[in-house]
């Protein structure tokens, strides 16, 4: 076996370079195909990650706890008491990095010019600074100062729509515990800049202020929590469900269905791209190897006449494919890694501004090399390339020596 390898390996390598232009074109197809798969996978993964982080860091976090029924009907009758000792102990475990309690209810905001539906969120500002990006997104004024803070932080676009501004007052109306519509005026002390839909929806104030306004005592609407590793989220959710069996505990994918769908779709896009590239590579490899086999029919006849067995011909052509595709894969891997490494400081998307808001990504995408991608995709392409090249190899080994010799003489 080793002898056969020693015989075929140099022959296969030299055969590759008999037609350098064709070999280079095939190498180009394979390497560019793999490079594009790796680059697209890195880009899409980074985009998905950025988009997910950006969205989850606004308000959702990675999981939330609600009273049963709140998610379907987030009104004042579906609130819950603050977490009990068992749930607090569960939330303070090291697999949860941060958690906050919030009171969130639908309401109406009114300025001198306009009345709009919103969600009023009563927050613990100190805790929010650890879990939410809203405090960092203040573009005018300040964020809230404490649980008792009775001012409001509103979104940039909402401010425009209400034709209000920093230092002006707005009226917020929310259904209170007693069923009556409670209204109260708030000073706008801060304006934040997130995506437009978010800005139009959420107004923040101190949690105690809001609890007092609607008369719910210490009741809350949600506990949002963050985990260091998304992969561990399912286990954390299960553990919390065990600690608080009567509550509705959901991971972010079940809260923001759009984000969950986007997350799943991103993986699908990578595989669609992979499939497209694999088809292109397969066509390229089959074409090259068939041409190489047809051109050398006479030579295969000669080799057979000299004592080469048909299996040697099969191995020789297959070996050429192994080397050709292997080299293309290697170049593609290097190019893919170099691209990702070259962009490791991040791709600045801030110039696109609001145009990319629909994709919800952050301003900078950080590409990274995912080891599994650099193992699975090259191996898949290599294996597929060799598989499709077996057909030309099979044809080559079927050539009878006398037919092959006759073709050229």
């Amino acid at each position: 076996m080793m002898e056969t390898f020693k015989l075929l390996a140099p022959l296969a390598w030299r055969n590759l370079w008999r037609n350098p232009r064709r070999t280079i074109i095939t190498l180009f197809v394979v390497s560019v195909g793999l490079w594009s798969i790796l680059a697209v996978a890195s880009f899409i993964t980074a985009w998905a990650q950025s988009s997910r982080d950006a969205t989850l860091r606004l308000l959702i976090a990675q999981g939330q706890i609600h009273a049963e029924g709140y998610m379907d009907d987030p009104n004042i009758s579906n609130l819950m008491p603050p977490p009990g000792a068992a749930l607090v102990a569960a939330l303070n475990r090291p697999d949860i990095s941060n958690w906050v309690t919030r009171l969130e209810l639908p309401g109406v905001v009114q300025s001198e010019y306009k009345t709009l539906p919103v969600s009023l969120v009563g927050v613990d500002p100190d805790a929010e600074r650890r879990i939410s990006s809203i405090p960092e997104k203040i573009v005018e004024g300040r964020y809230l100062n404490g649980l008792e803070d009775d001012s409001a932080v509103i979104g940039l676009n909402l401010a425009k729509r209400l034709k209000t501004a920093l230092g002006r007052r707005i009226i917020l109306m929310v259904t209170a515990e007693d069923g009556w519509l409670e209204e109260r005026s708030f000073d706008v002390v801060g304006v934040y800049d997130a995506d437009t839909a978010f800005e139009d929806t959420y107004i923040f104030t101190g949690r105690s202020t809001m609890q007092a306004m609607v008369g719910v005592g210490d009741k809350i609407a949600q506990i949002a929590f963050e985990v260091p590793e998304d992969a561990a989220l399912a286990g954390v959710v299960e553990r919390l469900r065990a600690a608080a069996p009567g509550l509705d505990i959901r991971p972010w994918r079940k809260i923001s269905l759009i984000m969950g769908a986007m997350d799943a779709t991103m993986g699908g896009v990578i595989f669609i791209w992979l499939a497209v590239m694999m088809v292109m590579i397969s066509i390229g490899v089959i074409n090259t190897q068939l041409m190489a086999v047809f051109e050398r029919t006479h030579e295969f006849g000669l080799l057979r006449a000299l004592g080469f067995k048909s299996r040697h011909v099969l191995w020789l052509v297959t070996f050429e494919s192994v080397l050709l595709i292997g080299l293309g894969v290697l170049i593609g891997m290097i190019a893919g890694a170099a691209t990702v490494w070259g962009l490791s400081d991040g791709i600045d998307l801030s110039a696109f501004g609001k145009a990319l808001e629909a994709f919800k990504a952050g301003d900078t995408l950080y590409l990274e090399v995912k080891t599994s991608d650099y193992i699975i995709f090259p191996l898949a392409i290599w294996a597929l390339g060799i598989l499709v090249a077996l057909w030309p190899a099979w044809r080559a080994q079927k050539i009878s020596p006398v037919e092959a010799m006759r073709q050229a003489t």
Binding site: E3, L7, L302, L306, F308, S400, M405, A408
Partner: protein, 232 residues
């Protein structure tokens, strides 16, 4: 009393028909032929007379439609493709009209190729290949690729390759067809010398009178049949 030499090749009533029914072409018609050890035989005849077809049958490259070919007493019929490959490798050397060297291998590697298939150890392989190339007058050109050799030199490499494994018989199909007269003369002299010195058996399909001049046995074919078989 001199012991009678055994035939290396025996053709017993071999026929070869290409195509079927009204399109059938009878390339060989009931050929009976023995090639004896040490023969320097030429196989002549006009184009289409069946020379190449007969050489292909003897070289185990093709099967007769009927009849039998025996090499060293072994019938080829019933042998698998792999066994036929082994037989060609071990017992038959080929020289073709169009040189037929592997273009990506040097002269030495082309000659060594057969020895590699025979699993000859590397040092011995090199020694034998260089000796074979020296024998055909190509000392110093061992590392040249075929494209860097003249037609005559390439055919010398092909002869070295055919002989290096010490086959029982060398089959040459129009080996001088593409060569000028000087080179043809040199190659014919070379093959004849190898036959005389080492006793290698040659069966040469040719039109070339310069080859036939050296022939110790001349077989003439017409329309797929042996018309005459004359020993000098």
């Amino acid at each position: 009393m001199k012991a009678e030499k055994k035939p290396i090749v025996s053709c017993k009533g071999i026929t070869k028909v290409f195509g079927k029914d009204e399109l059938a072409v009878h390339a060989l018609r009931s050929i009976d032929l023995d090639i004896i050890e040490g023969d320097f035989a030429t196989l002549a005849g006009p184009s289409g007379s069946g020379k190449t077809t007969l050489l292909n049958m003897i070289g185990a490259l093709d099967h007769p439609t009927s009849g039998q070919v025996l090499i060293d007493g072994q019938p080829l019929s019933g042998m698998s493709k792999s066994q036929l490959s082994d037989l060609r490798l071990n017992k038959i050397g080929f020289i073709f009209q169009a040189y037929n060297l592997v273009p990506v291998l040097s002269a030495r590697e082309n000659v060594e190729f057969v020895l590699r298939l025979l699993k000859v150890e590397a040092n011995e392989r090199r020694t034998r290949a260089d000796a074979a190339l020296a024998e055909v007058g190509l000392r110093g050109l061992e590392n040249r690729r075929p494209s860097a050799l003249s037609g005559g030199q390439q055919q010398r490499v092909a002869i070295a390759r055919a002989l290096v494994a010490r086959p029982r018989i060398v089959l040459a199909d129009e080996p001088t067809a593409n060569l000028d007269s000087t080179t043809t003369g040199e190659l014919v002299d070379l093959m004849y010398r190898l036959n005389q010195e080492s006793g290698t058996t040659f069966l040469i399909g040719t039109h070339d009178p310069r080859v036939m001049e050296h022939s110790k046995r001349h077989i003439e074919m017409t329309d797929g049949q042996i018309e005459s078989d004359i020993r000098a």
